[in-house]
Amino acid sequence: MKNDADCVCNLQYKLGKGSREKVQQFMTITGASEKVALQALKASDWHLEGAFDFFYSQPQISAANTRRLEEMYNKYKEPDADMIMVEGVSQLCNDLHVDPQDIVMLVISWHMKAATMCEFTRQEFIGGLQSIGVDSIEKLREKLPSLRAELKDDHKFREIYNFTFNWAREKGQKSLSLETAIGMWQLLFAERQWPLLDHWCEFLQVRHNKTISRDTWTQLLEFVKSIDPQLSNYDEEGAWPYLIDEFVEYLIENGFVQRKK
């Protein structure tokens, strides 16, 4: 998954010399990050004056607030490492009055671009909260409903879904363990109501019993979105991953759906 730096580099590549100067100027004057600078300039159609207006009219975090975020971070971080780990996350959830299994934590992790489940680096934590636009626990708590609502947006849901694969992986593994995958699917598709979810999980446990590849993960969402639960528009020549083809066979064999004539 790409991180901020990559995004910005790509964008910078596309910027002309004049635009780049504006970005630099903006950053120097407001002390904001590059990302924020670009946001503001884009919103104002690359007029510096308009960008400043935009910036100051937003409830942006100022330099002072950065300190508050640092304090927050330090509250949760491990005593002997520069990371927030399981205990810290647990504490955070407590303070937010949410269950650690609550899907909103996934959304938050996505905003933070967290690399691994149950771990946040300083950069991730602070950058994430900035992007959400809060600098205290209370404000974050208030934001929870709107964060949950983001799952209803198709585009965002897809991003969060795809993000989940990398995030839920064991460190150093290429694929996702079956158990974790099933857990994640159950979490995600509770929001999206996929009728075949239970059959899918059952099928995997009975027939597959191995890890899930990235391709299978991403293609499953396409499958859920485009194929109806009676499989009436499932096309055998549709280049679906073989696991999905086998799932279809499984459904037909067990009489859960009718075979297409």
Binding site: K174, S175, S213, R214, D215, Q219, E237, A239, Y242
Partner: protein
């Protein structure tokens, strides 16, 4: 020519008629009367009394003096009257004389017409064209047509007579063909329309119903072969009829009537006739009947395709039964021989009876390809067949014979879809042949390799060739070894080592076993020698593939030379220091794996004529509680006794599974390589196109399973060789 004229000069001048001679009408009438009389005389066969010159002049004068019309009309009327008289006489003719009379009168009329035309030639050339009237000859024919042929009394009688005669001839009577010829020629002369309308069309109709009836009759009582004979005969008859007394243009028409009625209408019934149809002819090699059927069916639409389809489904059905019959599958060599025989049989039929028709050859090929691949052991069996031939079957055969047999086997090989499975087995069998030295002819072996190379390319055979090279090199190495180390070895056992390059030979896991000390010593000496000259290599003894010759002395002093496997040698050598050993002791001492040990002991103790060991208890099977004794009482008529065998055999079920698994494993990288090759050049391609391209690329070796291809694609996505397109999920992209 003028009478008087100008005074005579030197040069003779002839001048035109200046003096106009007026013909008075009476003169015209008189002149006409002369001509009219002449016409009648001509018809009365009294032409000899006439003066041609005079008549010609008369006609000429009439035309000249503008009496052409009178002349023409007079001619027409006279002739018409004449013909009417003639028609009466024809009508009066009885029975068979009718045609003769008609013919005779026709001849007369023609002759008369000729003369009349000559007389009236001037009119024909001047008056007729200018007044757009029908020329004399043609007029004569038309009048004949109208007043004779189309006369109500004659018209139908003529047709009926002709058709009746033809019918009688068809029924076997002899008729007057010359007369018929004359009549039909007459009709043609009168105009093709007359021939067609007044004869040919009804003739074809009557023929159609005749043959329809006859064919129905035949088909009820004849078998296919005889029916076709009759049909052929009728066809030839009609063609002959046409050549004798019908117009040539009728040939195609009448033959197509016969073809339709006798063949096309009964095509399916004939082909499928029980006990005599196409299938029976094929089974019984009825070349003549088949040839006839082919020639006849070729004439009708869909004839050949019907034959082809029936033949194809028969071949497929028979072939399918052959390859799925468990009885037949017991002996692989017999099985393949049977296939070859079937191929030969049908090749001969196609060449002798079907004129080497390529479409039939293709049908044969596709049928064979279909059923040979129904049995997934076919590749193994074909390799076993070749093994058998190269081992002993070709003993005494000439070089040509060898080539013929191997070429035929190659034909079967071409039909295989899983050529890579064949390769695996061929390697195994070849290895056994080479190592046991049991090949009939080195040339035959090489020839087979060349054929495989021509068919499949260098890669297919490079490893096989490597095996031959190893054998040769080993020979040289052994010579060198003994030359250099002869003194060191002294009286020890003689060693013959084959050094196999690991990549070329079929991989056999080599479980270790304990060699007897004498052997071990000489083996170590060899190892030291070899590694001395070839550094950086590793040698592993393949104790499961070797053989040994042992000299043994039995109770009464009989000496025999035993040819055994390496395992058997290890076991036997133990009895140099003990008379009896339990199974467990043997196992411990030799460390031979259990299943191999049991097999080995079985052949040493339980086979009549080869029981150099005695087993207690005397049961048939080897159990772990058995005890073995050296069999002092062993006898054999032969001095040299062969006990060990490393012969290629049909694999057992578990072995078969293993081989197939290995083949599947080997296929995976080949499929991946093909995918990468294709994507590298195409960059972006959709799923179905990849599958079909891969199949095309690999079909020379095997038919890849689309599901396996899909899995390989996913594996390549995992390893980031490919990715799915972001917009169209069916499209894949090559990642550089």
């Amino acid at each position: 020519m003028s009478g008087g004229g100008p005074p005579r000069k030197r040069n003779f001048k002839i001048e035109a008629f200046k003096h106009r001679v007026e013909l008075d009408p009476k003169y015209a009438e008189r002149t006409w009367k002369v001509l009219e009389h002449a016409i009648h005389e001509i018809y009365n066969h009294n032409a000899s009394g006439l003066s041609f010159e005079e008549l010609y002049r008369s006609a000429y004068n009439m035309v000249l003096h503008k009496y052409g019309e009178k002349l023409y009309d007079g001619l027409k009327n006279t002739m018409t009257w004449r013909l009417k008289e003639i028609s009466k006489s024809i009508e009066a003719a009885q029975g068979g004389l009718f045609l003769e009379e008609l013919n005779a009168k026709w001849m007369d009329h023609n002759k008369a017409l000729q003369m009349i035309r000559d007389i009236l030639m001037y009119m024909d050339r001047t008056y007729v064209p200018t007044s757009h009237r029908t020329p004399v000859h043609e007029l004569g024919l038309n009048l004949w047509r109208d007043h004779i042929i189309h006369s109500p009394m004659i018209h139908s009688r003529l047709l009926d007579t002709l058709l009746d005669l033809i019918h009688r001839e068809r029924m076997g009577e002899v008729i007057n063909r010359g007369l018929m010829r004359s009549i039909t020629k007459m009709l043609m002369d009168l105009g093709p329309a007359v021939y067609q309308d007044d004869f040919e069309k009804p003739f074809l109709e009557v023929s159609a119903s005749f043959y329809s009836g006859e064919s129905q009759e035949f088909i009820e009582c004849c078998d296919c072969g005889n029916y076709l004979k009759k049909a052929e005969r009728r066809l030839n008859e009609e063609m002959e009829r046409v050549s004798h007394y019908l117009d040539a243009g009728s040939e195609a028409k009448i033959t197509s009537v016969v073809e339709k009625e006798m063949i096309a209408n009964h095509m399916h019934r004939l082909v499928h006739m029980e006990n005599s149809g196409l299938v029976n002819m094929l089974i019984d090699d009825k070349y003549e009947d088949l040839g006839r059927m082919y020639a006849l069916f070729r004439r009708v639409p869909d004839g050949l395709s019907t034959l082809r389809d029936v033949m194809t489904s028969y071949l497929r059905e028979t072939g399918k039964q052959l390859v799925t019959d468990p009885e037949r599958l017991k002996d692989p060599v017999e099985f393949v021989q049977r296939l070859l025989n079937e191929k030969d049989k049908h090749d001969k039929i196609i060449s002798v009876a079907f004129g080497n028709d390529k479409t039939f050859q293709n049908a044969l090929n596709s049928s064979f390809e279909y059923f040979i691949n129904l049995n997934n052991r076919s590749p193994e069996f074909i390799s076993l067949y070749v093994d058998d031939k190269l081992r002993k079957g070709l003993k005494g055969a000439t070089e040509e014979d060898v080539e013929v047999i191997l070429d035929k086997v190659m034909m079967l090989f071409r039909y295989l879809q899983e050529k890579d499975v064949f390769e695996k087995y061929y390697k195994q069998h070849l290895a056994k042949r080479l190592l046991s030295g049991k090949t009939v002819s080195d040339d035959a072996e090489r020839s087979m390799i060349v054929k495989l190379k021509t068919e499949c390319g260098y890669q297919f055979t490079s490893k096989l060739e490597g095996m031959f090279t190893d054998m040769k090199t080993s020979q040289d190495t052994m010579q060198d070894f003994y030359a250099k180390k002869a003194e060191e070895l002294g009286d020890g056992p003689t060693l013959d080592v084959h050094i196999l390059t690991t990549g070329s030979w079929p991989t056999q896991p080599s479980p270790p076993c304990n060699l007897p000390p004498e052997i071990l010593t000489v083996c170590e000496k060899f190892r030291a020698y070899y590694l001395g000259t070839h550094s950086g290599r590793r040698l592993t003894w393949q104790t499961n593939m070797g053989t040994a010759d042992i000299k043994a002395t039995f109770g009464k002093g009989q000496k025999h030379e035993l040819n055994v496997s390496t395992y058997q040698m290890c076991v036997l050598m133990l009895f140099n220091s003990a008379d009896g050993l339990t199974y467990k002791e043997i196992e411990q001492a030799t460390e031979i794996p259990a299943s191999d040990l049991k097999r080995c002991l079985q052949s040493l103790a339980c086979v009549k004529g080869k029981n150099v060991l005695r087993k207690e208890p005397m049961s048939k099977d080897i159990s772990e509680d058995d005890t073995f004794y050296f069999n002092d009482k062993f006898t054999s008529k032969l001095v040299k006794v062969k006990i060990g065998t490393v012969v290629a055999q049909k694999e057992s079920e578990p072995e078969k599974q293993e081989t197939r698994q290995r083949v599947e494993e080997d296929r995976k990288p080949q499929i991946e390589a093909a995918i990468v090759r294709i994507m590298k050049s195409r960059r972006v391609l959709d799923h179905n196109s990849i599958v079909s391209e891969v199949t095309k690329q690999l079909q020379a070796r095997f038919l890849p399973n689309p599901v396996v291809i899909k899995k390989r694609i996913e594996s390549l996505i995992e390893r980031e060789f490919l990715e799915r397109d972001k917009v169209d999920r069916k499209l894949y992209r090559y990642l550089a």
